[in-house]
Amino acid sequence: MIAVIIMLFIAGLYCILVTRNLMRVVIGLELLTKAVTLLLIAAGYATGRMALAQALVITLIVIEVVVIAVMVGVILSIYRYTGSLDASNIKSLKG
């Protein structure tokens, strides 16, 4: 189980680090969150505190959805502004 969690984490991290496509960055972040979800549940299962682990996972999922929705909204705005999803196009932003 731990090996699979680490592999999932590596896949998400690699996706974020290698790509310049903003949508793929969000997908990588989502994979990282899945790894954390599995880790929380595995830790709860190992310690016998499933209720606490489930409560934390539910909170994590709610936060994840809101973050993804706002990130996708920001990416759509960037796409409308620059016409592309390439992260290097927004290097010249002020601020």
């Binding site: 592999m7 896949a11 996706c15 989502e30 899945k34 599995l38 709610v62 959805v65 993804i68 759509l76």
Partner: protein, 163 residues
């Protein structure tokens, strides 16, 4: 091979496909498959509520958000797709190797077991934990959902004004 091993291998393969596939739409679908398999694993790990949330929200809602966002974008031309696919192969061939090495290392690593169970948390139901032991979490969730809603409203209102 047990059903658990098959599920864990399916998670790894689905995540690999999500990262390595060329099309954004297929990547979103791969993410949905990953979420669905994780939901089954959560069910098998005795956490049905988390599994239901994972299945309905992560595999359902987030995939719908991704697909609707992707559908608002212009598709790549055939030439651009070919150029990108050549670069992608160079960039991404390390990933399966890295994942295999990490998986092998952590499969061999000794993970500590024998955790001590907290008696007050062990006997509680998830509903008791959410509503009685951790009510501040619920307050935080409500605040974050409202912040997200207002954030999206402001983002799209600004975009509408610029048009």
């Amino acid at each position: 091979m047990t059903i658990d091993s098959i599920l864990l291998i399916a998670v790894v393969l689905a995540s690999l496909w999500t990262v390595m596939t060329r099309s954004l739409l297929k990547a979103a679908l791969g993410l949905a498959v990953t979420s669905a398999v994780i939901a089954v694993i959560l069910f098998r790990l005795d956490s049905p509520l988390a599994g239901v949330f994972e299945l309905s929200v992560c595999a359902g809602l987030i995939t719908a958000v991704f697909i609707s966002a992707i559908s608002l974008m212009k598709p790549l031309t055939h030439k651009e797709t070919l150029e990108l696919s050549k670069k992608r192969i160079k960039r991404y061939w390390y990933l399966p190797v890295l994942m295999l090495i990490a998986g092998f290392v952590f499969l061999r690593a000794a993970i500590p077991t024998g955790f001590k169970m907290l008696p007050e948390a062990a006997g509680m139901d998830v509903r008791n934990i959410l509503w009685e032991a951790r009510p501040l979490d619920l307050f935080g969730q409500i605040v974050i959902v409202l912040a997200g809603v207002f954030g999206i409203v402001i983002l799209f209102r600004e975009a509408g004004k610029k048009k």
